[in-house]
Amino acid sequence: MTHYSLLTFFSSDSRLTTHDSRNLLVMLQIKNLSVSIQGKQILYDINLEIKTGEVHAIMGPNGSGKSTLATTLAGRENMEVTHGSVTYFGENLLEMPPEERARKGIFLGFQYPVEIPGVSMVNFMKTAVNEQRKYRGLPPFSAADFLKFMREKKDLVSFDSQLTNRSVNEGFSGGEKKKNEIFQMAMLEPVLAILDETDSGLDIDALRIVANGVNKLKNQNNATLVITHYQRLLDYIIPDFVHVLYDGRIVKSSGKELALILEEKGYDWIRKEYSNGAGM
């Protein structure tokens, strides 16, 4: 079976050399990861390394296991890791409950954000931000400081003020829900942001707002993993690396130009190449 490791693919990439010169840290290291859901294997032998300052994109057709990878990294309990390891700054990520991962800076932007009737956005965010502050040894925000902080972040990602007065995602439109994910990301200032199909269901204006938000939050100490079906989002969020997930395996990794090839040729050529390869 063919499997591609990132290093063999990118050792010749010029961007990598630039990064190396800045002594970037290895943030996330996924080694030979296999994941099942209810006994059915979804991911096979995934290898991926993300360093600080990088933007990675994972593309792939529907049902290829993109969301499974994202939710496994965020720690959803019904994802059974059957093989392999994931380290986050050298620590075993798979042993941590989801809240610990979040407090250490991992953020998952949900493909389908969950509605929580009766829990106000303000209360939800206040609890989340203060739990994270507690974890980092900071005192909780006072009510006034929190509101000020929230206002800044709302402006940063152009989030509609009215929405924070409502229950979490309740009655939000599809676009509002996705913008809310980016707003939460701005509030929590993650180290590793995993955006699962954040572009799906967005019109072009909303897409721009979301992408702008992501770009504004990007810096040399954090990293972004963008999961998407379409190339469109990658016009706005320029990835350093593009990986193709197909049938539970990463079958191709390359620079940003891979996204354009996929856009042009669709996933069919991957499918063909892969089925030939799988026969080897």
């Binding site: 720690g75 309990e77 409950p97 809240e99 969950v114 929580i116 009766g118 609890t127 739990e131 979490v168």
Partner: protein, 452 residues
């Protein structure tokens, strides 16, 4: 079992007569004979399918036929759960109005509060037209049993065009040195164009086994406005059967809200009769049950006339081996055209052993009505839990936020602000497992007696 109570009645008939002042003796006899013919409701009785009533009466209980002679200052001993309420406080101690020398208080505007038996004796003209008219002992054996044995309780009379400007708080306190059965009787008369906010608190002040079988009758005259909130917060060995009967006249608006925070086995019966057009009734409830607790809410709304609205909303959170039941009965009589009647029961089970039974019962004899019912019983929403935890919120906090949000829909219906805030606080404590005994109670009811 029921024979024991019939024997007890006839053995003590003279005492009952002697002690009961204005309580009509013939009514007692009629009631005990009704009870003889019906007995305790058993499992075959659809209304009581989920609560074994007879079992509750099996242990030996003491019954008290005269007020407790307690010199302690109960008002000092009992610290109110609701500070800043600015309410008028009335206490019913072991089923008797705690008078401290004044059995009937005449308040400004002609409002009367005090002892029901005293009121039956001294102002029968006011009391008799309503007493035992709202609750019918011929139709319910527990009401019959109460009618046979009731000695006293709280009486409130609000004459036409008046009302309480501040909430009235009534605290029911059992405080004895023996296992005790209490069967008190409350009567609230609200004449035309009156208003009141009444808070009923059920507490326990001693660590004994208690069983209460109370009857409360409320008459809401034309355009009367009543908000009636019950807070039940007792120990595990305190069992309650409450029978609330409400009679509403034209244009009246009554909202009841029953918050069951803690207790043993609890059965709340709420019977509402909408006797004239344009009445509005809201019957809300929220309960928490864990360990071996059992909470059963039964509601019956009788739309006897046209153009009335009724809404029932009940929510429950059950953990451990707790069990619960909700049975909501809507009756729309042929005269009840243009009725709007809704009913919703929502419950969360936190353990695999907890159990909830819900039963809607719609009986409609009119053709131009809007009625609906809904019931859900489920577990904590996994996706919501994961969503919150993925933001760094701990499992415990996430669970609290979700449960609290679930409960808040009912708490939010309380319009008495300090009470709402206090109940918010108590619910939060309850959800954190810090409310295993009556809050602020100075008596240390240990868990020892609560075993069984």
């Amino acid at each position: 079992m029921s024979n024991n109570f019939i024997d007890l009645f006839y053995q003590n008939e003279t005492t009952l007569k002697r002690m009961s002042r204005g309580f009509p003796a013939d009514l007692r006899e009629e009631a005990i004979e009704v009870f003889r013919s019906t007995g305790f409701p058993d499992k075959k009785n659809e209304q009581y399918r989920y609560t074994r009533i007879e079992q509750l009466f099996e242990p030996a209980y003491n019954m008290q036929f005269s007020p407790s002679n307690i010199n302690l200052n109960v008002r000092d001993l009992f610290t109110c759960d609701v500070p800043d309420l600015n309410a008028r406080l009335e206490i019913v101690l072991n089923g008797f109005y705690f008078s401290q020398g004044q059995e009937l208080k005449k308040l400004p505007q002609g409002i009367i509060t005090g002892s029901l038996s005293k009121a039956l004796e001294t102002c029968p003209d006011i009391v008799k037209p309503y007493f035992s008219r709202v609750a019918d002992h011929r139709k319910d054996s527990l009401v019959a049993l109460n009618t046979a044995f009731a000695m006293d309780g709280l009486f409130i009379y609000i004459p036409k065009g008046t009302g309480f400007d501040n909430p009235l708080q009534v605290v029911h306190l059992p405080m004895t040195g023996l296992d005790t059965l209490l069967q008190y009787r409350n009567l609230i008369i609200m004449e035309e164009d009156t208003h009141a906010e009444i808070i009923i608190c059920d507490h326990t002040l001693s660590p004994f086994r208690f069983l209460t079988n109370s009857v409360t009758e409320i008459y809401a005259g034309p355009n009367a406005r009543l908000q009636y909130v019950r807070v039940q917060n007792e120990h595990l060995n305190s069992n309650l059967i409450t029978n609330l009967y409400i009679h509403q006249e034209a244009g009246s608006r009554v909202t009841t809200n029953t918050i069951t925070l803690h207790g043993g086995i609890i059965r709340n019966n709420t019977h509402v009769t909408l006797n004239a057009p344009h009445c509005e009734n809201n019957t809300f409830g929220l309960f928490f049950a864990d360990k071996n607790q059992h909470v059963d809410n039964y509601v019956r709304i009788d739309h006897a006339q046209s153009d009335c609205n009724s809404m029932q909303l009940f929510k429950g959170i059950l953990d451990d081996q707790a069990t619960g039941a909700f049975n909501g009965h809507i009756l729309v009589r042929p005269e009840g055209q243009k009725t709007n009647a809704y009913q919703l029961s929502k419950n969360i089970l936190l353990s695999d052993q907890a159990k909830m039974n819900t039963k809607p019962q719609l009986e409609i004899y009119a053709d131009d009505v809007r009625c609906s019912h809904g019931a859900t019983t489920g577990q904590l929403d996994d996706s919501a839990m994961f969503y919150m935890r993925s933001r760094g919120i701990s499992f415990k906090e996430a669970r609290l936020l979700i449960l609290y949000a679930f409960a808040f829909e009912v708490i939010d219906k309380i319009s008495i602000k300090p009470l709402k805030e206090r109940i918010n606080h108590l619910v939060d404590k309850r959800l954190r497992g810090e409310l295993s005994r009556c809050n602020n109670c100075s008596v240390n009811c240990t868990e020892v007696h609560q075993g069984k």
